[in-house]
């Protein structure tokens, strides 16, 4: 089994507010499924609970009610999960090479997979550098190499390229696609950038403002490989936004507006 398929159902996830007493509901009645080897993007306004959703799937947020169930009859614990966080989260006291090797077991590390991936990322000259001395683009590459090093069945990415400038970000987006095509894995990619989502994904799921729910699912039927500057991406985006004016503000069709408002007052 090279990749994973999941049914995600989150009934409720709430955070205590800093003022005490009351709670803020981040996610409510969210249902989502992702199929084997799919590149799924999740788009929603900032603060709508996208990161929380990924954390729940990754198993580092145990405080939500609901379930994440693999379709293939495996348990969630037996699936190899990788996570590329919003910041690179590299260990500053380890060299680039050690940072990738540390997530591998001894036999895999001995096979040289860390070195292979780092060379692929054009980091061959930086094996023994410490992360502090690298540019933020290079740090993302190390983080991406680490995420792929474990040959994940499920890869979660949380706006990983958001703070990079356009050219550097585009190179990394391309690298991500290349890696995904040579080493198939199921990807859940969170972003608030619709163009990025159209360029990368097979399917986009739009979330509402918190408490977040799925308001729209849209397949991206553009042929691969895609070009970042391809006008087809812009046409796709335009069409989508003309159908659903406030989609990026967490609102879709008129019906879901009403549904949304009802939940908003709850």
């Amino acid at each position: 089994m090279s990749s994973a398929a999941l049914d995600i159902r989150i009934d409720r996830k709430a955070y205590p507010t800093s003022s005490g007493g009351d709670v803020r509901v981040a996610i409510k009645n969210l249902k989502l499924s992702v199929s084997d080897g799919e590149f799924l993007c999740i788009v929603g306004p900032s603060g709508c609970g996208k990161t929380t959703l990924l954390n729940i799937v990754a198993g580092i947020d145990g405080d939500a009610s609901g379930a994440v169930i693999p379709k293939t009859g495996q348990t969630l614990d037996s699936i190899r999960v990788s996570y590329m966080f919003q910041t690179p989260r590299l260990l500053p006291w380890m060299t680039v090479r050690e940072n990738v090797r540390v997530v591998l077991d001894e036999t895999t590390a001995a096979n040289g997979r860390a070195e292979q991936l780092l060379e692929r990322m054009e980091l061959a000259d930086s094996f023994n550098e410490f992360p502090n001395r690298l540019s933020s683009g290079m740090q993302r590459r190390v983080s991406l190499a680490r995420a792929f090093a474990t040959e994940p069945q499920l890869l979660l990415l949380d706006e990983p390229f958001v703070s990079l400038d356009q050219p550097v970000g585009n190179i990394l987006r391309q690298l991500l696609l290349e890696l995904w095509q040579t080493r198939p894995t199921t990807i859940i990619f969170v972003t608030h950038d619709l163009r990025e989502a159209i360029y990368l994904s097979d399917r986009i799921v739009f979330l509402s403002r918190g408490p977040s729910q799925v308001i729209l699912e849209k397949s991206v039927d553009l042929a691969r490989p895609r070009e970042i500057e391809d006008p087809a991406i812009d046409r796709f985006r335009h069409k989508l936004l003309s159908q659903h004016e406030s989609l990026l503000h967490g609102m879709a069709t008129p019906q879901s507006d009403i549904r949304n408002e009802n939940d908003g007052t709850a």
Partner: protein, 257 residues
């Protein structure tokens, strides 16, 4: 005031300044001794002669060795115990509240009281001596390591959790390295505190070591020997700092810019 510009650049000039400062101190001492002309303040030259005599004909090296062994034993015991308790208190809120009162109590018991009580309860033994010294240092280590544990970056621990690297690796590769700066602080101040207390312990209840010899010289009013022994020990402790603690610290923090 500009802080960035105020931080000095290191160079040859600072090394010379240190040498000059040391010579100045010797000079001050020599001048004072010359004007005092007293048995209780021998000049540097007299102390050097006595030092040489103790080194060749006396038991200076033996006493130095014994004291150093006690320092190392007490240091290791205090660091290990203090680190373990400190980490646990940093991680477990309930344990922290439970032990916090004890910690404040132990921090405020004078060294002399711990030493006397240890000797009274456990006899004039080696174990009692080393325990007494450790007990004086442990609360400090606990406080420092508890602070370090509270400051640990949870984001990095989440990485370990997501990639399922296991408990052992999480502790040694993701958690403990974050505590190194705190361990170094505890170690640095620990060595300085421990060797001073070891001398008191030796003075009160051992029949060898630097501290015991100092009490003998005190009774004989042999100030030159007291200064010679002090000098020997200070040299050894500076050597320990230069040879071990400094290099370890530089290695552990080499990744900083």
């Amino acid at each position: 005031m500009n802080l960035v510009e105020s931080v000095p650049r290191t160079g040859i000039n600072t090394a010379w300044l240190r040498v000059i400062s040391f010579i100045l101190l010797l000079l001050l001492w020599a001048i004072s001794a010359f004007f005092a002309q007293s048995r209780v303040l021998p000049d540097p030259w007299a102390v050097a002669i006595v030092f040489y005599d103790h080194l060749i004909n006396g038991s200076l090296l033996f006493d130095l060795g014994i004291t150093l062994c006690r320092v190392i034993a007490a240091f290791v015991l205090a660091m290990v115990t203090g680190t373990v308790i400190g980490i646990l208190m940093g991680l477990r809120k309930r344990l922290d509240i439970l032990l916090d009162g004890w910690l404040i109590l132990f921090l405020n018991i004078p060294a002399l009281v711990t030493i006397i009580l240890c000797y009274v309860w456990f006899g004039l033994t080696e174990v009692a001596a080393i325990t007494a010294v450790s007990l004086n240092k442990i609360p400090n280590v606990v406080v420092t390591l508890r602070e370090g544990t509270r400051a640990v970056d949870r984001d990095l621990l989440q990485v370990a959790q997501v990639f399922r690297v296991g408990h052992r690796k999480t502790f040694f590769k993701f958690f403990l390295p974050q505590l190194y700066p705190y361990i170094m602080i505890a170690a640095r101040s620990g060595i300085a505190l421990i060797w001073k207390i070891v001398l008191v312990v030796e003075l009160l209840g051992r029949s060898n070591g630097i501290g015991f010899q100092l009490s003998v010289f005190f009774q004989l009013f042999d100030i030159a020997s007291i200064l010679a022994y002090t000098l020997a020990f200070v040299i050894v402790m500076i050597a320990v700092e230069l040879a071990f603690i400094g290099p370890i610290d530089r290695y552990a923090t080499r990744w900083r810019k």
